[in-house]
């Protein structure tokens, strides 16, 4: 099957990201005099967003930063305690446990999720009939995945008498209550995260479309097989997209809350096996009314995610290939 070249002008092959950054560069190169006068209007239109940012985002963030240095139970005024909340964290076995659970969750489920997304994207990229339908169907879980309804459904599916065990029973395997066993409960949450591979898949699909056909044609002439083409053309040219998805999904996975909250019945159980970081943060803040500690946890999470992202960007130099 012959496909139209990635860019209609037939120019040098470019990736999505490159295109985006090119766009940015062109905007940076001087502003025309006419556009200068539009500045005031721009500010005018930005104002509602800016007010929202200050009042709804920056304000509470500042407050939570202040609260993270206090002992605050919501019912009486906060007391300044310095770094006590932060030092207490590392003596709190449940906090350390929740860190362990969260890291396991993130580092197992995100790579699997991206692999699933890439695999499906490669299949769909074959240009099969009804592509739009398949794309929507596979994208659907991403839209629903964060919802309470899906989490409740998940709970049922992996319950003692749930769908999974009914299927297993057909093969004579006696299953068990997956969500209520401390060894398996986190696994069901990770499965849920993997299942929501639609968003990265759509981005992968767009990335695959950007790879010029001619590379494959050239490789085919040189006698490269499918696998070889994938390894030497698709994967390297796709690394910016992989990187983009990785950064995004890592950040998102670190902040997972709803599914753990619903599947565990709100307490991170059984025996803290699904106590994701944000869930413990919530339990501390609203369950134990230890809002100072919860705020400190929130800022520590910001540090973790920030740190992970910095590491990601530094490491990207060694494996992400920009074709220019």
């Amino acid at each position: 099957m012959v496909r139209a070249p990635a860019r209609p002008d037939g120019g040098a092959p470019v990736s999505v990201i490159q295109e985006l950054s090119r766009d940015r560069r062109s905007r940076d190169q001087g502003v025309s005099p006419r556009r200068k006068g539009d500045g005031r209007w721009a500010l005018f239109f930005l104002a509602p967003w800016f007010v929202g940012l200050v009042l709804i985002t920056a304000g509470p963030m500042g407050a939570s930063l202040y609260l993270s240095f206090t002992d605050y139970d919501l019912l009486s005024a906060p007391q300044w305690v310095g770094f006590e909340n932060f030092t207490r964290m590392f003596e709190d076995p449940r906090f350390l446990g929740s860190l362990g659970v969260t890291f396991t969750y993130v580092f197992v489920s995100v790579p699997l999720q991206l692999a699933a997304a890439l695999g499906l994207a490669l299949l769909l990229d074959k240009g099969m009939r009804g592509l739009a339908l398949y794309r929507s169907v596979y994208y659907l879980p991403s839209l629903l995945g964060g919802s309470v309804a899906i989490a409740i459904l998940w709970r049922q599916i992996f319950g003692a008498d749930g769908l999974v065990n009914q299927v297993l029973a057909l093969f004579g395997v006696q299953g068990q209550g997956w969500v209520s066993h401390p060894d398996y409960a986190l696994g069901t949450l990770m499965a849920l995260n993997v299942w929501t591979f639609g968003a990265p898949m759509v981005i992968f699909l767009a990335g695959l479309r950007q790879i010029p056909r001619m590379y494959y044609e050239a490789a085919a002439i040189d006698g490269a097989g499918r696998w070889r083409q994938f390894r030497s053309i698709t994967l390297p040219l796709l690394t910016p997209i992989v990187f983009f998805n990785l950064v995004l999904q890592l950040i998102e996975a670190f902040q997972s809350f709803t599914r753990a909250f619903v599947v565990s019945g709100g307490n991170g159980g059984p025996s803290d096996s699904t106590l994701l970081y944000t869930l413990y943060l919530y339990l501390k803040g609203f369950g134990s009314l230890d809002m100072g500690y919860a705020s400190a946890m929130a800022w520590f999470l910001l540090l973790i995610i920030g740190g992970m992202t910095v590491v990601n960007f530094l490491a990207s130099k060694y494996w992400v290939f920009y074709d220019d």
């Binding site: 500042g62 609260l67 003692a160 209520s180 401390p182 369950g287």
Partner: protein, 448 residues
């Protein structure tokens, strides 16, 4: 969504602006927060001067749809009697209630009349959120002193019990009959009898039916066992009053039941426990016994479709004294900051003492604490509720005392119990280790 590549100097000047603006905004908000306790945390210490009606008071409660509807009717009846007072309803389900209440208090927007519960009332009273009801004009003469004491902390009446419940054994005679086992005599049975009965039922009834549902997640059971041994879960001083041995024995019962088949495996237990009374073993006709609060009998009976019975907990005749007690179902409290203390008091008085209100509410907030009102509504009760009323009357003479209000921080106890119980059921820790851990964690939670 845009990724800027590292190491490219494009747009550097602009990049600095955003962080700078952020820092400035942060500094502003910090300055605002630092300026005293405005906004954050309950406001000043002095209650505002009482004001005259016509007025509007807000009543906060949690519960199901049926409770919301009946409470609305009660409010209408009250407003008809007191045309100058408007009561604004403020209700949610149980889980959301405490989040919402804590945030409203923090925002200085405390409801005037607050429904409280024993796990939280200490937290709220020690933070001066609740008014001293003894100083308000509320008639409590028809409420038993022991029950009334359940709402006192250090001698101050911070809450008045709405009604009473008891933690009791619920049994399904039909399943007992199917298993060929007699329903035990609850006046004499011991904890050992409980285990052997449950195991026998499971054996007799065959696959898919168990003897009983695990009880380890609820601290009330531990409290009863402790009281039977002359101990108590919490002392009046707010310290843990239960011995390690008792806690270990408490968890051992579950292990004995699992070993003998009397209760399901750990994973199933966790699942049934999360499913509430209706989805539990009794509610789904898969278990012959279960320990529940008496006000849950209605829900259990309805979902099981069987005629269920109430029994005393095991060991009442075994230990040095009886352990069962009347638990205040919930409390009515009044905000210390309310502008209209008289109106709030009048409303609480109506809720407690009006026959009209009681006839609408029935046993939804526990069997009414006001004994005169309780008598008056007996004929209106459903057969199940009458069973509860009879049971409560039966055990009245055996009850020694009401446990003191649990201390500040005890709201975490339920969570701790559930977590440690799960560890025991999955045999990750022994009952002895569980006892040490429980005492350590509860002491830490209640001493902060």
């Amino acid at each position: 969504m845009r990724i800027t590549r590292t190491g490219r100097p494009s747009g550097r000047g602009r990049r600095l602006v955003a962080p700078a603006a952020g820092v400035a905004a942060l500094a502003l908000t910090l300055a605002a927060c630092g300026g005293g306790d405005s906004g954050l945390g309950g406001g000043g210490d002095e209650p505002p001067a009482a004001q005259e009606c016509p007025c509007e008071i807000r009543f906060a409660w949690w519960g199901s749809d049926t409770r919301h509807e009946s409470t609305q009717q009660i409010i209408e009846a009250f407003e008809a009697e007191n045309p100058d007072i408007t009561v604004v309803p403020d209700f949610t389900d149980w889980d959301g209630y405490w989040d919402k209440l804590a945030t409203s208090v923090a925002a200085g927007d405390t409801p005037d009349v607050i429904t409280q519960e024993e796990r939280y009332i200490s937290d709220y009273s020690t933070k001066n959120v609740l008014a001293d009801l003894g100083a308000l004009d509320i008639d409590t003469s028809k409420i038993d002193d022991g029950v009334l004491g359940g709402g006192q902390i250090d001698g101050t009446q911070y809450g008045i019990p709405t009604g009473i419940n008891a933690y009791a054994m619920v049994a399904d005679p039909e399943l007992f009959a199917e298993a060929g086992v007699d329903v035990p005599d609850d006046a004499t049975w011991t904890w050992e009898d409980y285990v052997s009965t449950a195991n026998a039922v499971a054996k007799g009834a065959g696959d898919g039916v168990w003897g009983t549902q695990d009880y380890g997640f609820n601290e009330a059971g531990l409290n009863v066992l402790a009281r039977q041994r002359g101990e108590t879960l919490f002392t009046p001083e707010g310290e843990l009053g239960v011995s390690e041995e008792t806690v270990a024995d408490f968890f051992q019962v579950s292990l004995d039941l699992m070993a003998g088949g009397g209760q399901p495996d750990a994973a199933r237990t966790v699942e049934y426990q999360a499913a509430g009374p209706e989805g539990g073993l009794l509610g789904t006709n898969q278990g012959a016994m279960g320990i529940w609060w008496t006000n849950q009998l209605g829900a259990l009976t309805e979902s099981s479709g069987h005629e269920l019975e109430l029994l005393r907990l095991p060991g009442e005749a075994e230990g040095e004294r009886t352990g069962m007690y009347y638990k205040p179902a919930m409390f009515y409290s009044v905000s210390a900051d309310t502008q209209y203390p008289q109106a709030a008091a009048k409303f609480v008085d109506f809720l407690l003492n009006s026959e009209e209100a009681a006839k609408i509410m029935l046993t939804d907030r526990g069997l009414p604490a006001n004994t005169e009102v309780r008598e008056a509504i007996l004929d209106d009760l459903s057969p199940t509720d009458q069973k509860v009323a009879d049971f409560m009357a039966d055990i009245e003479d055996e009850i020694v005392d009401t446990p003191p209000v649990p201390p500040h921080g005890s709201a975490e106890l339920a969570d701790i119990m559930e977590r440690i119980n799960t560890e025991v059921l999955f045999e990750r820790i022994t009952p002895q280790e569980a006892a040490t851990q429980l005492i350590e964690e509860v002491t830490a939670a209640t001493s902060s």
